[in-house]
């Protein structure tokens, strides 16, 4: 048996009385691709931080290449060849690709003067290790997420690296970019570098990893070879609940469309988009990241002003040139990036829920009517079972799934006819994802027209009755979800 590269033995970690890790042991062999899975709050991040030396374990120890450490410092971890690539990649967006790549080694060598030639050479060498080519003088801030990730990986490889820990590396990537990433991961494996892949996306875990460890509430609940695991077991281990995957069948779909887009164009982004949405259905829109799917959503919500074309609501032409106009026409939009666009994180849960309808709670002269306000808040906290002891707590005290429910509650309070959701379950754990899908299906059954924009194809196929596939700003296909599958959709997307 090959000697293990990394071993954690019976790691306990508690913070101020909260047990984050309870006796976690796992091991990793050189060149192994290992998936660490678990829902938000399961202790994944804490475990990574113990391995990389950010946290010292309360008890237990780490063995690295046979050497035992009771605790490891970040520098020791780097010297032992451990590199962590965090979700935000820790790149410097205002510096060039070359500077980003060469800076660390320049600093490590204690160089006092900048030698541009040497830096260029270092940068070129590190990129060639993963066969990635890019203009070295570009600002990293102008790159796509996938390119930034490649930069982060190349940078991680510069230090005689033996283990790369990737924290949710695929979150912001499109399907194609994920495939490229996986190719690189396999190449690194061939070089004997072990990868610890942190994820909660099922299909990725199955596709790439050889072994898995699943954490739940700080405990290891399952481990083994990925080939011996199936989807249902995986979901069960992650959540401790069993789910039935079933295709949503709308209760009643109206004969006449509730909303129609006719020949919508936006220069350089959208071209002659036409489609209709019926009451009671969930319509899926999918496509690659640059296919124009988000631009279309923003146009429907009045954030992008369209160049030509019309929107019709119940057969009447309406002008949607601002979010206010969209809301007046009973159209709501749950944005792609919950944290920066959807929520007021430092404000109370209560205010987050009612902000769009707050004008309804005014008495005379714009004075807040507290009684009405409280009633409305209570209604939505209960309706969407938002887990909070007090709605006056800050929104950021909640988990991703609960935050997304708040984003939903905000729009439901507006009493909408049409709800557009962009990536409704990105960064949400399996349990909450299931609950959010259920909420959306109930909404459709109550007579809303729901549009889900997502590149999570299983999500689209499970919930939507029709799927529009977009490519380069055009709708290339209108599919019936019942008779379609992921392969068919992918072939239109690419």
């Amino acid at each position: 048996m090959v000697e293990s590269l990394l071993k954690t033995v019976d790691i306990y970690k508690s913070f101020a009385g909260v047990q984050a890790l309870k006796g976690v042991s796992f091991s990793l062999k050189p060149g192994e691709i290992h998936c660490l899975a678990g829902e938000n709050g399961s202790g994944k991040s804490t475990l990574i931080k113990v391995i990389s030396g950010v946290y010292a374990p309360t008890s237990g120890h780490i063995e690295f290449s046979g050497r035992t450490y009771n605790k490891i410092t970040p520098i020791e971890a780097i010297n032992n060849g451990i590199q962590v690539i965090y979700q935000d990649f820790s790149v410097f967006p205002n510096l060039s690709v070359m500077e980003n790549l060469a800076l660390n080694s320049e600093l490590a060598d204690n160089k006092r003067f900048v030698n541009w030639k040497r830096m260029r050479k270092i940068a070129e060498e590190s990129l060639s290790k993963i066969n990635f080519s890019i203009d070295l003088d570009l600002d990293v801030g102008s790159l796509t997420v996938a390119e930034k990730q490649m930069i982060a990986i190349s940078r991680a490889l510069m230090f005689n690296t033996r283990l790369i820990i990737m924290d949710e590396p695929t979150t912001a990537l499109t399907k194609r970019e994920v495939q490229q990433l996986f190719k690189i991961i396999l190449k690194l494996k061939d070089q004997g570098i072990a990868i610890l892949f942190v994820s909660h996306k099922l299909n990725e875990v199955f596709e790439i990893s050889e072994n898995f460890t699943i954490l739940r509430n700080g405990e290891k609940v399952a481990e083994g070879e990925t080939s011996s695991l199936n989807t249902d077991q995986f979901s069960y281990h992650m959540t401790g609940r069993e789910f039935e995957a079933k295709h949503f069948i709308p209760a009643e779909i109206s004969k006449k469309p509730i909303f129609e887009a006719k020949d919508i164009s936006l220069s350089g982004k959208l071209e002659d988009i036409s489609f209709s949405l019926f009451k009671g259905e969930i319509l899926g829109i999918t496509g690659l990241l640059d296919s124009g799917r988000s631009e279309l959503a923003l146009s429907m919500f009045g954030m992008n002003k369209i160049d030509s074309g019309t929107f019709e609501l119940n057969g009447k032409v309406v002008k949607i040139d601002s979010p206010q106009a969209a809301i007046e026409n009973k159209i709501g939009y749950v944005p792609e990036d919950r944290l920066t666009e959807g929520l007021f994180l430092s404000q109370s849960i209560a205010d987050n829920i009612i902000i769009s309808v707050i004008d309804k709670f005014t008495g005379k002269a714009g004075i807040l009517d507290n009684e009405k306000r409280e009633k409305e808040i209570k209604l939505w906290v209960e309706e969407l079972s938002i887990a909070t002891p007090d709605p006056n707590n800050e929104c950021q005290t909640l988990s991703g799934g609960n935050q997304q429910r708040i984003a939903l509650a905000k729009w439901l309070a507006c009493n909408l006819d049409i709800l557009i959701l962009n990536g409704p379950t990105v960064g949400v754990d399996i349990g909450s994802k299931h609950d959010i899908h259920e909420i959306l299906q109930n909404l459709a059954n109550k007579g809303l027209g729901v549009i889900i924009i997502s590149d999570d194809l299983p999500e689209i196929l499970e919930n939507c009755s029709r799927v529009l596939v977009m490519k380069s700003g055009k709708i290339v296909s209108d599919l019936d979800a019942k008779t379609s599958d992921e392969q068919a959709i992918l072939s239109y997307m690419m």
Partner: protein, 339 residues
Amino acid sequence: MKTNFKNIGSYFKKDQHIKRLIVMIIVWMLFIALTKFNKFYSLLNFQTMAAQFPEFGLMALGIMLCMITGGIDLSIVGIANMTAILNAFLLLALTSENGSLPPYAIPLVFVLAIVIGAAAGLFNGLLVSKVKIPAILATMGAGELFRGVCMALTNGNAVSKFSRTYSQLINNKIGGIFPVQLLIFIIMAVVIWFILSKTVFGTKIYMLGSNLKAAKYSGLKTDKLLIKTYMLSGICAGLGGMIMLANYNSARADYGSVYTLQCVLIVVLGGVNPLGGKGKISGVILAIILLRMLETGINRFPHISSYYISLIWGGVLILIMVLNYFSENKKFTIKNKAA
């Protein structure tokens, strides 16, 4: 926000910041009581303080409002002086030969002060919201512009020699005890407290301050809200200018030039988050009072030069911010650990 009125006691316990300011005021008052009791604790001294702080106190309230939206208003002193100079010209024109003013003059100058302040604020608001210039640059530029207007109007000279009636009226003590300046400050403070905690507009500017993008996506008319906020700030500054006009019995382009920075510091000291979204008027008012008491108290020690006041004031500010950092950080680590 509702909790503040339900139970004042628990509210102060919850709000570290307010508690800390109160403790500092009490410690300072005790220190003065032990060392210079007679020179500090007199009605006259408190009346003097109460007549002095409203001029910059009002400006600080304006900055607070802008800072809650995530911006700042650095043009307050410019607005105050512009208001004071324009009204000084008006008073000069209205002053009759025997040195008296017609009865409508006083209400007229105050209405005009509000109009000038609001107009200047509108200008700031348009720059910040429509032209999307960062507030710090827009209002700094506007402040210079207003100062330039003042200079052009006066050639840098003081405008005085208008009827003393105005200054006398504002420097009056109601019932022989209560300074009129303080009354003006209290009225404005109550108005702003009411706006922030009881109206929809107040809630909206807090929300906007914590996330402008999300506010847009929630259908808030962010431009309009910002413009209104800067107009309110302009009105505060205009009224501050009217008190300066009365306190100095003249108006000049460079009066109160230290107030800009001082007011920003007061607002931060009062617990308003410079990034927006957080801050209460109670904290800002306590910070204003603390500053005034420190300065007056130090003046009671003749052997401490008044040059030390900046030193001590700066020290207090840094101390408060360091304390904030540690208490915030403690909060943060607990939060992280719980997650």
